[in-house]
Amino acid sequence: MRLFAALIVPWVCVSCSQWDHPVKIPFIATWQGEPIQCDSPDVALSDLRFYISNVQLVDGEGQSHDVRFATEMPWQNDAVAYIDLETGSGDCHNGTAGLSTQVLGVAKFREYRGLRFTVGVPFRLNHENPLAAKPPLDDPDMHWHWRSGYKFLRAGVRTEDDGFWIHVGSAGCEGTVGNITGCKFPNRIEVSLPEFVVDQHAVNIDLTALVAGTDVADGTPTDCSSGPPEDSCAAPFAALGIEFETGEQTGSQSVFSAQ
């Protein structure tokens, strides 16, 4: 009997504690080190909405462990979480009032130091019919009707008469809508934050780094829509860790950090 218990109890406990480590990953947006909102004076947020997928925490041995999204939250399903840091007010003209500022999920019970995630929608979900998609992929604002797929990231800042915004999504896709076979420029943003500790850190989105290399105050608003003829895409894409001309990952991005 004691042998039986010794065999059974660990299994029971393991299955109990397997996924009981709650994970909360807050996101904040800053400009020159200070929080930025849609109604900030001087430089204001004009948009900041994105999809997160493939979230992993790194344990003491350097092993990655998946974070499972809490699917009862309306901004999350089992594959993607939708973060919306704009409030539809002030300079966020095309935005919505709703906010979702953090990813909520569970992970295996471990000590973790390090966070990895992708800003983007996995390919297998990226080219489904948005009108038939389940939340949070049912938002037409995030859907790229023209290029097919979703806008993985919508971000921008505005000054009184100038600004810069960027829409990042897959480009150079082939096939037809409903039968996309692949995209030459997947444009998913890979983020690795080795210093990140759950419950101590938030993910800081440094918009200054994102728009460095574009000219936010030259009197001419500019933008980047992940499209090939746009000179305004090279610098922000590089900040996001993507070489714009080739679509290759550079391995280092400067926009997301642990704070």
Binding site: W146, R147, S148, T176, V177, K184, E230
Partner: protein, 374 residues
């Protein structure tokens, strides 16, 4: 026994109802012309087409309720709008020109240069919901469109009938399906040219006959891109087993001698990122071309004589301004745009032929007109 007549009546009704449901759609096409392709998930029906026609002309489909689909697709202009670059409901100018919807059911790809869009149901999302530029600007469109279908009695009944097997017939998706079904019915094969082909030797003038010969000659090569029953090489139909799509650079621009087109209108290059796709656009159908000025993807050629002059030259020369350049020297220009020489009479003949492609029936057919005007 006394219930027999009633049972019989019920049986006959059921049989008739079933039979009319199962009957194929009557496209009312000339004999020998194959019908267009229809997506399997959006079969044609009278209720659907009727609903789609109302929605096509309904201004409540725009965010500020100032425009409907018909605002940029005017029947008398073969469902174009007569301006170089269309203007959206909030005043934003589109980089490109509204395309004709006549026979668009036969288009293998939609819009000027997006190879991903082969179904009207998918293309419709861009003018309805797109924000760059804002066209119809239907923000929160899903809710508003669905609410319109639910609360407008006529739409509610038509949608319930057209989408009777759906759990929720009154959705944005179904509204778009209805509009697509209506647009598929806008077919035109009753131009003088069609009647000439059908055997009426007097349907077109002898000038137009000579123009026709020129059009289909290797000397002019028009038919290479503008051939077939719909005068475009991007044509598909129910019996097609090959996906025929064509994008062509006609030497309209050559900025900085690099072959570049203006950055907001690079054509296929914008989608593929391949330099060789610079300035490649779909060759639209030439049917009703006489009423769909101005011409080209950005409406930058005002008249048909100017169009012909550009092809005659082998590419357009823009002498000054920000778009200066000689399109004839573009490295990306189509191999079919090599230039030719026409006498004044031949030029007039070619124009007469193009005129013979105008189908007055479709421009005024009550089936496609604005039901709100009754």
């Amino acid at each position: 026994m006394k219930y027999t007549p009633i049972l019989l009546a019920v049986l006959v009704t059921v049989v008739l109802w079933w039979f009319t449901r199962a009957t194929a759609w009557d496209w009312e096409l000339p004999p020998d012309l194959p019908p267009p392709q229809v997506p399997a998930d959006n079969p044609m029906s009278a209720a659907k087409v009727e609903l789609g026609r109302w929605l096509f002309y309904d201004r409540r489909l725009s965010g500020n309720e100032t425009m409907s689909c018909a605002s940029c697709h005017i029947q008398s202009l073969a469902f174009t709008d007569g301006v170089a670059q269309s203007i959206g409901s909030t005043g934003e100018i589109h980089p490109r020109s509204s395309m004709s919807l006549v026979n668009v059911a036969y288009a293998s790809r939609l819009t000027w240069a997006n190879p991903l869009l082969d179904r009207l149901e998918d293309q419709a999302l861009t003018p309805l919901l797109g924000d760059r530029p804002v066209e119809m600007g239907l923000r929160n469109g899903e809710q508003r469109f669905a609410e319109l279908l639910r609360t407008e009695p006529k739409y509610s009944a038509l949608a319930a009938s057209a989408f009777s097997s759906d759990e929720d017939p009154h959705s944005l998706l179904n509204g778009i399906r209805a509009i697509a079904a209506f647009i598929r019915t806008i077919n035109s094969f009753d131009a003088p040219y069609d009647r000439y082909l059908a055997g009426d030797a007097n349907a077109i003038s002898s000038a137009a006959e000579r123009g026709m010969e020129l059009f289909f000659s290797e000397r002019l090569e028009c038919f290479h891109c503008h051939g077939g029953f719909n005068f475009t090489d991007s044509t598909t139909h129910a019996n097609s087993n090959v996906d025929r799509v064509g994008y062509h650079n006609t030497g309209l621009y050559n900025l900085d001698d690099t072959g570049a087109y203006p950055s907001d209108n690079t054509g296929l290059f914008d989608m593929s990122g391949e330099r060789r796709d610079m300035g490649r656009f779909k060759a639209p159908s030439l049917r009703n071309i006489g009423v769909t000025a101005p011409y080209m993807h950005d409406g930058s050629v005002a008249t048909l004589p100017e169009v012909i002059a550009n092809y005659e030259r082998g590419g357009r020369l823009i002498e000054d301004g920000q778009y200066a350049g000689d399109g004839r020297l573009s490295p990306y220009k189509s191999e079919f745009v090599t230039g030719f020489e026409l006498t004044d009479e031949e030029r007039a003949d070619l124009l007469a032929f193009l005129d013979s492609l105008t189908d007055q029936t479709v421009l005024s057919d009550a089936r496609f007109s604005d039901p709100f005007l009754n």
